[in-house]
Amino acid sequence: MTTMKVAKYKGIPKGLEGDRAVAEAMRQMNPDVVAAYPITPQTEIVMRFSDFVANGEVDTEFIAVESEHAAMSSCIGAAAAGGRVQTATSGAGMALMWEVLWVATGSRLPIVMHAVNRSLSSPLNIHCDHSDTMGMRDAGWVHIFDENVQEAYDNAIQMVRIAEHPDVMLPALHALDGFIIGHSVERLETLPDEAVKEFIGTYTPKYSLLDFEHPATFGPMDLPDYFFEHKRQQAEAIQNALDVIVKVGKEYGELSGRPYGLMEEYRMDDADYVLVALGSTAGTSKVAVDMMRDSGVKAGLLKIRCFRPFPHKMVSEVLGKRKVVGVLDRSISFGAQTGPLCLEVITSFFTHGCYPKVVNYVYGLGGRDITPAQICEMYKELVEIDKKGITGPIQRFFGVRD
């Protein structure tokens, strides 16, 4: 998140947890339908939004479903009917949605999901890691990570515009770290209701089930003669989202003073040693970068905001000539050489002909703390790698007891 001096609307300062900030954004967006099932650590979004519904502060049809499979299925039906539709979930709830997450993308329905990251069982754990949304990374959703409460609020609003853009027409999610963002009170600035209304505008789908003048069938069977063509369209649509995300982020900046892009560079101008991070750890890493800079190390951070579609060209341009790159993954892709983010980064390097030294840090699983001092240790390791080369495995488990 960067800030601009000129903004069309003056922000309203508030102190809210991430979940409440998302619920507040949802109130301002006033979706036609919300279908959701409460699950820790997303519960407070649904709880708070239910209050808004009960108090008549929104016109939303709130469907209290019996499971997350039903939540996503209801969203699909409502979106096909032509409504603006949102949901929220976490961890196991997202796993239960898995089958229908693909129906949402394949049917090209611009549903918005507020995903509060939580580990997947077993062992049972309610705390943050990225196993849940990383597990659905190939389902075709636009996938954006929030760094803090302000970004959770801002991204929640931008998702609608990205998903509904005619060049995209895909469901979109933004992910906020469970508890770390979801349950932490931070200062943020919200927009006035009318500003949000103006920004998201109205949604008129080209086709909908309730448009009786122009009947359409949604989600029919597709045999080997056409299925591949529809998947090819989907592959194109999610790449189109790269431009749309930038455009929407810029427009949101003009409105709020907080423009957004695909990623954010922190003290990167002359940085030799760079960490790449998602979510709240990007914020923690900025503190570590300052600490390392104070001790004379040319440290920098690349925060990836947009994970799907992955901005591979930009990543290779920004990182290609650095001395050593460390990629932080808050999830494991079991059996792969590295975590999911590091796989993307390495692929970006290879396909764009640049070959900096790369290591992968898996950290913070099941809500394990990550501190600036620990991230400084990573930077020191990158400096060592520069001197001695990579010794030991590419993937390193950071903060686990031996």
Binding site: G106, R108, P215, A216, T217, D225, H230, R232, Q233
Partner: protein
């Protein structure tokens, strides 16, 4: 029906030309072909009632045969026919006989 490229079709497999299943020929799914004996048939049209694909062709109230472009060869008509006027024969054998 000529197959279209991915630029030429609606997203999500959406269908807006209602009733277009007539354009989608499913006859080549068939491994058994219904052979109708019009001498045994008493035109009761039980086959027409039961056919799940609307492939029994009736003209002016009279059964005149099968729509083989769409018949998938399920055999329900043969099973239900009170006159035993429909026989299911393997497609390969029918085709050999035609040769």
């Amino acid at each position: 029906m000529a197959l279209k490229g991915w630029h030429e079709i609606l997203i999500g497999g959406m269908i807006t030309d209602v009733g277009n299943s007539i354009d989608y020929k499913t006859g080549d799914w068939r491994s058994y072909r219904p052979i109708w004996d019009d001498k045994k048939c008493n035109n009761c049209k039980v086959c027409w009632v039961y056919c799940p694909d609307g492939s029994i062709v009736v003209k002016d109230g009279v059964m005149i045969g099968m729509d083989l472009d769409h018949c998938k060869g399920c055999g329900i008509c043969a099973q239900e026919c009170p006159q035993k006027a429909i026989k299911m024969v393997e497609e390969t054998k029918v085709r050999e006989a035609v040769k």
